[in-house]
Amino acid sequence: MSAVASPRAARRAARQQATAERLATLTLPAAPAWLKPAREAAMARVAELTLPDRRDEYWSYTNPEKLISAEVRPAEVFKITDEPPMYQGIDRLKIVFVDGVFSAADSDPLAGEGLEITRLADSADIHWAKDLYGTLEAAGQSPVPRPLAALNSALATDGVLIRATGKVKRPVSLIYRRAGRDSAVTLHHVVKLEKGAELTLLENGPVAARASMVIEAEVGEGAALHHVRTMGRDHERKAVTHVFARVAEKATLKSFSLSMNGRLMRNEVMVWLAGKDGTAHVAGAALGEGVFHHDDTVFVAHQAPGCESRQVFKKVLRDGAVGVFQGKILVEQPAQLTDGYQLSQSLLMDERCQFLAKPELEIYADDVKCSHGSTSGEISADHLFYLRARGVPEEEAKLLLVLAFLAEALDEIDDEDIANDMRLRLRRWLERHSH
């Protein structure tokens, strides 16, 4: 035994120290009794994993500092006055959170056919979510630690617990609003789809200046969960989000995220295709300029044979914005006949923008089909000229080409009404940001 600690051990000690100091400033929020053990366990995980820093390989493209340090309350809440509300005309069950707190007054009654919905903060003591809360998150700590998700499990102040037992027709629509009372919000949703159930889960609206959001989803045999999240236009937004989903036999998970503006976003998705013939499509479109830094970090694990997965991520970057994609397809030994696809592309509108991509395949089965591609580039001069030569003005031509660039990601949204709403937001963003 050496008396002098190795550099590695010294570094770990320093990190543990820093983590302990940060955690000491935090208190576990009040919680129903059933949740307490899960929170305490999550807190212990954070202490063990330690909070991330820039030297972590997993954070080499995105600095987690601003996602961790105490959040200063902004002087002013960014107000969006010129954006029509989302999903107008789409019949859905609305659940509203104001500054991260469930608002019964603004929400529809938490009931629907084939649905059980409870607010996290006042859920009853014996609850089905007991076996799920923090469980998928904990499982998601390997092979790569995701301490910010564990921190979320420990600190979440609210969220919903949704259990679908049948084919739910009306989408469940989580709407976030800001009143500016709180600058940092931690939300944690747990979703369980029983055998054969179907559910569409929508999320939109500004959560907080800094938001941490986790969704843990158990998608049962033959069930289908469609998740669509939009984050848009609140320019000071810093957000870290995690989706953990376990997909059973013949089940489907589709998760799409649209991000516009904001400063710093890290969206992590971890999917286990745990039963045979399952499907997982994870896609996203991100548009930003200037300080915009957007990171999609995706991990799809094929654990059973015959599953199909797609990752399709597109980013439009302007004025020095930065896009990051870290995506991995892991094919475990039993996962024969895997069909895996991964695509990440960025459209750089000027030379100052950056796209940092780390696509990875790790394959232990021999009969698999996997492809991945990652590119970044500008709008094609030939395409632009062709459109202009037909009389389409330059700005309109660019808009068509940017929308065309994004099309493959948008195509991952099955519901046409929802997809069209997204297209509208994209178009509006592009029109506002063309110069």
Binding site: F385, Y386, A389, R390, G391, V392, P393, L401, A404
Partner: protein, 252 residues
């Protein structure tokens, strides 16, 4: 209608002159053909007229009905009635053929102060015109030129021309890569558009297209210039003897 006078063009990034004093005058209602060996600058001429980047006009003028083309953006030239059927039409994934054409038609109408076509009106017109060119509805729904055969791409160019109803149509080797039937379709498409107020500049290597689209005037282009101008018989001469004799005669 189209007046080109002493046009000199070089590549923007290189010291390479391509058009070296080209002059040409195309009257309304007429069909002019340009023939010439590969590399003589035919496509460059068409690109410069349409407004593509990468070229620098060092001297000369090009006007359409008296207005200088060279000062206009490509979309303005189009709105003024200039159309180029590309030698190599590009594939544009993600942009639907229909969306593209409707956007183009309406952008031009808007630029000219005309009312835009509703989608119903547009559909009716395009269906009829597509049918004439044997372009099926499925092709119209696909992204622009994606997965089209060479012949389909060229027919799609002619469809665009028919929809946009330009006054000055430049066709750059629209016949290359077409089989006899497809060439007939293309020629019929062009002939259907022939009218008093409209002119054509047909760039081709081969006499055979000119059997179907009868030109009024034939120009021979070489080394960045029109070196000889004549009637339809000039095309037959090229077909029989190639360019060598003509070029030798000009240089002599």
């Amino acid at each position: 209608m189209l007046e080109i006078n002493n046009l000199h063009v070089k590549l923007q990034d290189e010291d390479k002159a391509i058009l070296k004093g080209l002059s040409l005058s195309v009257e309304a209602g007429s069909v002019h053909a340009i023939m010439g060996p590969n590399g003589s600058g035919k496509s460059t001429l068409s690109y410069v007229l349409a407004g593509r980047d990468g070229y620098e006009v060092t001297d000369g003028t090009a006007t359409l009905d008296g207005e200088s083309l060279l000062d206009m953006e490509p979309e303005e030239r189009a709105a003024h009635g200039l159309f180029l059927a590309f030698q190599y039409p590009v594939e544009i994934p993600g942009v639907g053929n229909m969306t593209f054409l409707r956007t183009a038609v309406n952008a031009q109408r808007k630029a000219r102060g005309e009312a835009e076509l509703s989608s119903g009106e547009f559909l009716k017109v395009i269906r009829a015109k597509a049918k004439d060119l044997k372009i099926d509805a499925e092709m119209l729904k696909r992204p622009v030129n994606v997965g089209f055969s060479g012949g389909e791409k060229k027919r799609n160019e002619i469809l665009q021309m028919a929809m946009l109803e330009p006054r000055m149509c430049i066709l750059d080797e629209t016949d290359s890569g077409l089989d006899v039937d497809a060439m007939k379709l293309v020629a019929e498409g062009v002939n259907a558009l022939r009218s008093e107020g409209r002119a054509f500049l047909v760039i081709t290597h081969y006499q055979r297209l000119l059997d179907h689209i009868k030109p009024d005037v034939v120009h021979i282009m070489a080394n960045g210039r029109i070196v000889k101008t004549g009637g339809p018989e000039l095309a037959l001469e090229v077909e029989e003897n190639g360019y060598a004799d003509i070029l030798a005669e000009v240089q002599a």
